[in-house]
Symmetry: C2
Subunit: 197 residues, 2 copies
């Protein structure tokens, strides 16, 4: 049961962070949302709120990476993969009533630079996600430099659309952006195939 | 002098909001940052923190729109405009030591949906900025629907890169994304010119 409490506290922290950011997530909110007794907080997390935030951010970043890896591996081409990832992101936004988006962006925009471990985690998160796209693009024959700039375009568009869709409470614009991204990626692959033919 | 205090409080609120988000901006921070006496707060802003946040967000959104309008009007083509806007954004990130980015994104990610006036402001901000890009693209002959999806791609990429550049403390990836965006926009204009020739 002790582990259940621990897990519930991490899950509550993760939900609150994505919804309201670092500064909007108080220990009282975490206790209320998880139903955990106050005494259990420092028993499970001697480092308090920052330990909770670091642990759950690390887990969320890994979870996003695993899902991206699966989606990139499952699709028959990089443009189809990008489209499906964008569609799944749009679906997540809608299903959460525009409360759930990237686990890292709210932490970054809250300037948590006084917590070096968290700053490093956020930096690595973007590097890792961008590299996942880049590797798949490069494997399709797109030259390395271009593969990296395309990967950044895709990751940045998804990040940006998560903010925009939350603000306008509509997921459909992300589907239009998915079309644009898929077209760019498809053309980059075709261009490469053409030049090596 | 009373107006100076008012202006200083608004400026401090704007800086803090962009840097640390809505929940990270406390009245104490605003007073400390502006050097204003506590008594002046409710004299100038009877609605307290939320009045300050709404006023400064409205002003920041208008300021961004004015700058975008100028940059879009000054460039000789839409792709050059997009590149210059991205370069100016990269410059702002670097010059602020990665503390200053979009005035709206941190408010959106903090789920301030219990302040309807602020929610509406954030929604309108993105609609207005996206429309500015769309209008310029449409005027270059790009069909309306495509002009809108390209405008969203550009706005989303800039938003996303502001988060990513802050996280990785490097503005250069935004310049690579600027190349990608300029290429897509240039091709869309050329395609249209080709089809109507």
């Amino acid at each position: 049961m002790a582990n259940d409490t621990r897990t519930r506290m991490l899950e509550a922290t993760g939900r609150l962070l994505r919804q309201r950011g670092y500064h909007g997530t108080s220990l009282n909110d975490i206790l209320a949302e998880s139903g955990a007794p106050r005494g259990s907080l420092y028993f499970h997390f001697p480092g308090g709120k920052d330990q909770l935030v670091i642990e759950v951010t690390r887990a969320s970043v890994a979870e996003v990476a695993t899902k991206l890896r699966e989606q990139l591996a499952a699709a028959k081409s990089p443009d189809v993969a990008v489209r499906r990832i964008a569609e799944a992101t749009a679906e997540m936004l809608k299903a959460s009533d525009y409360q759930r988006s990237c686990p890292v962006a709210p932490v970054v925009l809250d300037s948590t630079t006084d917590i070096p471990e968290l700053t490093e985690l956020c930096r690595q998160a973007f590097e890792e996600w961008i590299d996942l796209f880049r590797d798949v693009f490069a494997k399709s024959g797109i030259p390395d430099k271009r593969a990296r700039s395309l990967a950044m375009l895709v990751e940045a568009s998804l990040e940006g659309m998560m903010v925009i869709c939350r603000a306008i409470r509509d997921h459909k614009p992300l589907l239009a952006v998915a079309d644009e991204l898929a077209t760019v990626v498809k053309a980059a692959v075709a261009e490469r195939a053409g030049s090596s033919a």
